[in-house]
């Protein structure tokens, strides 16, 4: 019986934990006397999506370097970022989100990966903190959550775009490879198949693989036997080089395509040349020659801050600009502009401002529909040429 004491300890620990929480207000005053508000950065920096997550963080940090002061009600506030690592893991994501809420952030940017965003979304909604997704493309992120917005397009859109690409290129036999248990991969694949049925494209093979799979030869051999003209294989950065190189080794010569996750230099590097010719749909294409407005600021800096490429290099990264960094930049900018428009740090006021917001960001015109998704109707298709992603065409869907 005395072992009920166990519970006692729980109580004591609970008590000690109260000390962790504290009375924090949304606006604080820094040591130098400046008034400060915080924007949360909710991104994976480790785990399965750690690589993509950090690229978004760079975009957000860079935007914060450029837009670091906001005027609210006639007073100037310094905007600080508060970063948490959600570890690409849903359980961790809940605590990370709570950490942001406890830090009294006025809004949140992130995350890379939809699962963690969905998990955290319920909490942001409850705390009435508006969140701005960067590259979480799953419909469920914003669906039924009026506090979640995003600057990117959605899974159904990407699948549809790829199908249109196939149609435009006259492919009529395609194959799909998706990852079991992964909402992104299965989602894109599913919408691709649906769009293909509509476009009259024949899906000759549909193969699936397990998470952490490293042997794709078996399913690729089947695909080879079906002899498609195009293979759609939306999957993670870790999987991409394996699929690409094993397909080429088996003598599959058709084009291979995927969604936004594949637009990452590490894939080209890891595939040892097998990535050549692969196509991806993505959010952004840097074009320094024609850049104007926000894009010019992003690419070239604003006088005091150098352009984003230089920033990446200073962080020890390759100088190529990942699309997700541009989205991170836009996400921060949307939040920033909404705070300015709302003239308040109140979550509801910022949310209201976001629904009415319209501006031209790095990745194009940004405004949000009733679900909170950015109104985007075009995706950039890039192809790997000589070890680089080269912009090929803009595919529009109406």
């Amino acid at each position: 019986m005395k072992k009920i004491l166990a519970v006692l300890l729980a109580g004591i620990l609970a008590l000690s934990l109260v000390a962790c929480g504290g009375n924090k207000s949304q606006t604080t005053t820094s040591a130098s006397g400046e008034k400060v508000i915080k924007i949360g950065v909710f991104e994976p920096q480790t785990g399965e999506n750690g690589g993509g997550g950090i690229q978004e963080v760079y975009g957000i940090r860079f935007a914060n370097m450029i837009y670091n002061k906001v005027n609210i009600g006639g007073e100037e506030y310094k905007v600080e970022l508060f970063e948490v690592d959600n570890k690409s893991d849903k359980t961790e994501a809940v605590n990370a989100a709570q950490k942001l809420i406890a830090e009294k952030v006025v809004a949140v940017c992130g995350s890379y990966g939809s699962g963690v965003s969905i998990a955290a979304g319920e909490y942001f909604k409850e705390a009435k903190i508006p969140a701005m997704g960067c590259s979480c493309t799953n419909p469920q992120v914003t669906n039924g959550n009026e506090y979640y917005f995003r600057t990117c397009f959605l899974d159904p859109f990407q699948g549809t775009v790829m199908s249109s690409y196939c149609k435009n290129h006259g492919y009529d036999k395609v194959a799909v490879i998706t990852q079991l248990g992964d909402d992104y991969s299965e989602g894109l694949g599913n919408f691709f198949v649906k769009a293909c049925e509509k476009n009259g494209i024949n899906v000759v093979a549909q193969e699936k693989f397990q998470t952490n799979e490293q042997d794709f030869k078996a399913i690729l051999t089947n695909i080879k036997a079906a002899d498609p003209q195009f293979i759609f294989a939306p999957s993670s950065i870790a999987t991409a080089p394996l699929i690409l190189s094993q397909a080429r080794e088996l003598g599959i010569e058709c084009q291979i395509g995927a969604g936004d996750t594949w637009e990452n230099g590490t894939i080209i590097e890891n595939a040892h040349g097998a990535a050549e010719g692969a196509v991806v749909t993505t959010f952004y294409e840097a074009n320094p020659a024609t850049a104007t407005g926000e894009e010019a600021v992003f690419l070239n800096g604003n006088g005091t801050v150098k352009g984003f490429s230089d920033y990446l290099v200073s962080m020890g990264q390759p100088k190529d600009i990942p699309a997700v960094s541009a989205l991170g930049y836009d996400a921060y900018l949307a939040v920033f502009k909404a705070i300015e428009a709302a003239g308040s740090t109140d979550g509801n006021a910022i949310r209201e401002a976001l629904t009415k917001l319209s501006f031209t960001g790095v990745t194009g015109d940004i405004s949000f529909n009733a679900d909170g998704d950015a109104n985007k109707n075009a995706a950039y298709v890039k192809e790997v040429e000589n070890g680089n992603f080269v912009f090929k065409e803009l595919v529009k869907i109406n």
């Binding site: 480790t46 785990g47 399965e48 750690g50 690589g51 690409s88 079991l180 193969e207 699936k208 693989f209 397990q210 952490n212 799979e213 490293q214 042997d215 030869k217 078996a218 399913i219 051999t221 089947n222 080879k224 036997a225 079906a226 950065i237 870790a238 080089p241 394996l242 190189s245 094993q246 080429r248 080794e249 088996l250 003598g251 590490t266 590097e269 890891n270 595939a271 040892h272």
Partner: protein, 310 residues
Amino acid sequence: MFNVIATISEVASTKATFGFSVIVQHALTGISVGGCYALIAIGYTLVYGILRLINFAHGDIFMVAGYFMIFSFAVMPFPLAIIVTLVATTVLGILIEKFAYSPLRNAPRMSVMISAIGVSYLLQNLATYLFTALPKAYPAIPGLKQVIKIGNISTSLVTILTPIITILLVMLLLWLVNKTKIGMAMRAVSRDYEAASLMGIKLNKTISFTFAIGSVLAAVGSILYFTDRMTVFPYSGSLPGLKCFVAAVFGGIGSIPGALVGGFFIGICETIIKAAGLSTFSDAFTFIVLIVMLLIRPTGLFGEKNIDKV
């Protein structure tokens, strides 16, 4: 072997698109994967034979060997890099035994197992911390990735080389265990280590040697496996590790030829299952094999009859 081919063609016949070349292609894949599995499975079998311990960290040693190769290849010519990788992996294996297992020699078996899980957990987290979770490119050893084409069949040199190297190494190992003094010591220790130590066999030395062999084979397996798959990430050892343990059990834990057969069996079956469009159950199948085998014939195909009770 003929059974396996018969099974392949049985499954294959269910799919109209399957031709002869497809079957050969699948067979090549299965045998190649199986070869790598066999090399790792031997590590499990040796350690289990001697310590009665599932070395949960073995799959992660295999993963770390991948990272060793990446870093050594970056700074030295490849023959040297291979040697460095083999040596470094061996040292790692021996160190793990010294620090994590030998202090628990007389502890309850559960403690040793938890320690093994702990090492596995540590290696994975350490790899994530040091090298990030992103996959790292595995260096291409000159010639090994060369694509060979015969008609409709296309494969790389390493795919064909893997089973050959595996079988050669196993023959070497069998000679070592059966004909040399240290091999005899290993067999004695695995039979009864108390009696063996009374007979003057140096227990710790023999155990270290066993770990060294297991690690070297894991390193060779790692080179063959990752050359074919070209990327390493912190969790790339965990699943192959578990599968290879199953392979070892299937063949009869403690038996080297058993591990070889088990490795090929698991590799080929897995390929058949994936080829039949049942990827969902490819991992599940492995565990079902384990459970069925343990229930029907707990000693495995080639295992010795004496079962210890607890």
